[in-house]
């Protein structure tokens, strides 16, 4: 088991290294001279000397390899450079916005978890009957509706029409509800299909036939025999969907006017603030790589067959 974890961790570090090279090259290969950009930001009538001074200051005149080493060293310490547009510290901006996105995704994950199990169980309990078809339709619709449209519909229904919840921006804990629902909606639809199809597969296995011949009830078979067998697949899918939700936060945050990581990333993209884009990209990729490792270890722990195979 420890060997397996060590191996996965090594692969993750390798992938992170490749990703850091990618992030670095992306910014280096950007069109336009960064030094001119910054010099003109400081003084609109920048001379050649001003540009040279900026180059010296940021180490832009050094060889590429040295620049990469310098940048990586800083990034590991949480020093991600200074925004080209606003002049603020990118690392500090990231840290101050992290909690918003984390809470958003965590809440969305809870919504997805509860909704998907509910819809999946209804489908499995009434398999190939009306409730199953209705749930399947809802799941298809849920998986096809863009999150920004879901959000707009929720705001219209709950805030504008029924005056139950606040609309955009933050005004108390109730403001979290709609963004959570919006973010969790699509993963819930996808995961409910995973539950439903997982039950379908599990119910065709020989051990279910054995359980049935023992005279166990359908509900008992579903929850005691089939459910543990779906858990690894479900956890795997849940991990993927948490990744999807982090991406979804990029869309949901501007919709609800929240100031999270996604909002920072978008601002960076909009104003071509390379340092912000690069830093956010690095944070996102790090998150995805770590998420993958955690999911892999989680599956191994929940699946006795894999546990034996990998230890």
């Amino acid at each position: 088991m420890l060997v397996f974890i060590a191996k996965r961790a090594r692969n993750a570090v390798l992938l992170l290294f490749l990703a850091s090279v990618l992030c670095f090259t992306l910014v280096v290969s950007a069109p336009g001279n960064v030094a001119i950009l910054i010099a003109e930001l400081r003084t609109p009538t920048a001379t050649k000397e001003d540009i040279a001074k900026v180059e010296e200051e940021l180490g832009l005149n050094k060889p590429l390899l040295e620049r990469y080493g310098f940048w990586l060293q800083g990034a590991l310490k949480g020093n991600l450079g200074i925004s080209y547009k606003t002049g603020e510290d990118v690392g500090a901006a990231l840290r101050s916005r992290l909690s918003v996105t984390a809470t958003l995704v965590a809440g969305g994950a809870v919504v997805a978890f509860v909704l998907s199990l509910l819809v999946g169980f209804i489908g499995a309990l009434w398999a190939h009957r009306m409730p199953d078809y209705i749930m399947r339709g809802i799941a298809l619709l849920g998986a096809s509706t863009p999150s920004f449209f879901v959000g707009a519909l929720l705001v219209y229904a709950f805030s504008v029409n029924w005056h139950l919840l606040p609309t955009f921006g933050f005004s108390g804990p109730a403001s979290w509800v709609l963004p959570w629902l919006t973010l969790g909606f699509l993963p819930a639809a996808v995961l409910s299909r995973v539950v439903r199809v997982g039950f379908e597969d599990a119910m065709a296995k020989p051990y279910v036939l054995t359980a049935r011949s023992k005279g166990l009830s359908q509900t008992r078979i579903l929850f005691r025999d089939a459910l543990p067998n779906i858990a690894p697949t479900y956890l795997n899918a849940l991990g993927t969907q948490i990744g999807t939700m982090v991406v979804g936060a990029v869309v949901v945050e501007p919709l609800f006017a929240w100031q999270g990581l996604g909002d920072l990333f978008l601002a960076g993209v909009r104003f071509r603030d390379f340092m912000v884009v690069q830093a956010c990209l690095l944070v996102f990729i790090t998150f995805f790589v770590i998420l993958n490792v955690v999911v892999d270890i989680g599956i191994t722990l929940t699946d006795p067959r894999l546990r034996r195979q990998r230890s």
Binding site: L22, L26, T145, P146, F148, Y156, A204, T244, L266
Partner: protein, 297 residues
């Protein structure tokens, strides 16, 4: 000819709902300029926020532009965008994938590791980063989405190519003395193209959604060009007064994506000729067989 035949066969086997929705989307997109009742960009402030009438079936938006015309014109924007993105992404993907599948060995290893890194990062993040570096414009959006989509195309093409290369007729060709170039261009490439085309259509929904999402964020299609995501964000400030202008583009977009998702599910369920390994096909057959006995008993 081979690829055209495979494609026609696949379309005939598709679920009706998908064929209808996607067909409507393509037809509207193709003939948009001839069937829009009004100029989609013509403003008439006297009409602003007007409800449905005989002259304007779906009303008008906050600038008094005919909503129906804009919805239809948006189908064209979306269709052209999707086609361009898929064309670029699959051009890169098929070439890389077939080379990896044909050569195998270290070429395959290196190319697939690159694809791995590309697939590890979600497509929206990739396209946003590319737009962040090159700036906001129509062609940068196409480039960004193509760069986000080529790895998945390369992976599929490689799987198909490996499958085709393992077929007996490839062995026979080599024995008959066909040159590698002939095998690659005359036999491998067309066969791969046909199978990948099916995937390309199933993927189109995700691309349409990505275009709409980028436009919603203000980083894709720029106003006044009509596009569903952009129409939705445009009408969002007037949600309270005129929710129709938010709901209609959202619904149209959802409908198009539903069509493509039904198609995608059909592809995944093997109702469409799918390049699977023999092992996977056998496993799937077993599941289906055990299933059939269960329902019969």
């Amino acid at each position: 000819m081979q690829s055209i035949k495979a494609f026609a066969k696949a379309v005939a086997a598709l679920p009706r709902a998908a064929v209808f929705t996607i067909g409507a989307f393509i037809l509207l997109g193709l003939f948009a300029p001839y069937i829009t009742p009004y100029d989609p960009n013509a403003q008439n402030l006297l009409m602003a926020g007007e409800g449905p009438s005989l002259a304007h079936w779906l009303g008008a938006d906050h600038l008094g532009r005919d909503t129906l015309s804009r919805l239809i014109a948006a189908a064209r924007t979306s269709l052209v965008g999707v086609c361009l993105v898929l064309l670029c992404a699959h051009s890169i993907g098929i070439v890389i994938g077939t080379i990896a599948g044909y050569r195998r060995g270290w070429t395959d290893e290196v190319l697939m590791r690159v694809v791995d890194v590309g697939q590890a990062i979600p497509s929206l993040i990739v396209s946003l980063a590319v737009i962040g570096i090159f700036g906001v414009s129509y062609w940068n959006m196409i480039l960004a989405l193509a760069l986000a989509w080529w790895p998945s195309s390369a992976r599929i093409s490689r799987a198909v190519a490996v499958n085709v290369m393992n077929k007996p007729h490839m062995e026979a060709l080599r024995v008959l003395g066909a040159s590698p170039l002939r095998i690659y261009f005359v036999h491998l490439f067309p066969a791969t193209l046909g199978a990948v085309l099916v995937y390309a259509t199933a993927d189109a929904g995700a691309v349409a959604l990505a275009i709409a999402t980028l436009s919603f964020l203000g980083l894709g299609i720029q106003p006044p060009t009509p596009e569903w995501g952009q129409m939705l964000v445009d009408a969002l400030p007037y949600l309270e007064a005129d929710p129709r202008q938010v709901i209609l583009p959202g619904l149209t977009l959802t409908l198009a994506v539903v069509g493509f998702n039904i198609l995608g599910e059909a592809v995944a369920l093997n109702r469409v000729p799918k390049p699977l390994g023999a092992r996977l096909v056998a496993a799937r057959r077993r599941i289906t067989a055990s299933w059939a006995t269960e329902t019969r008993s």
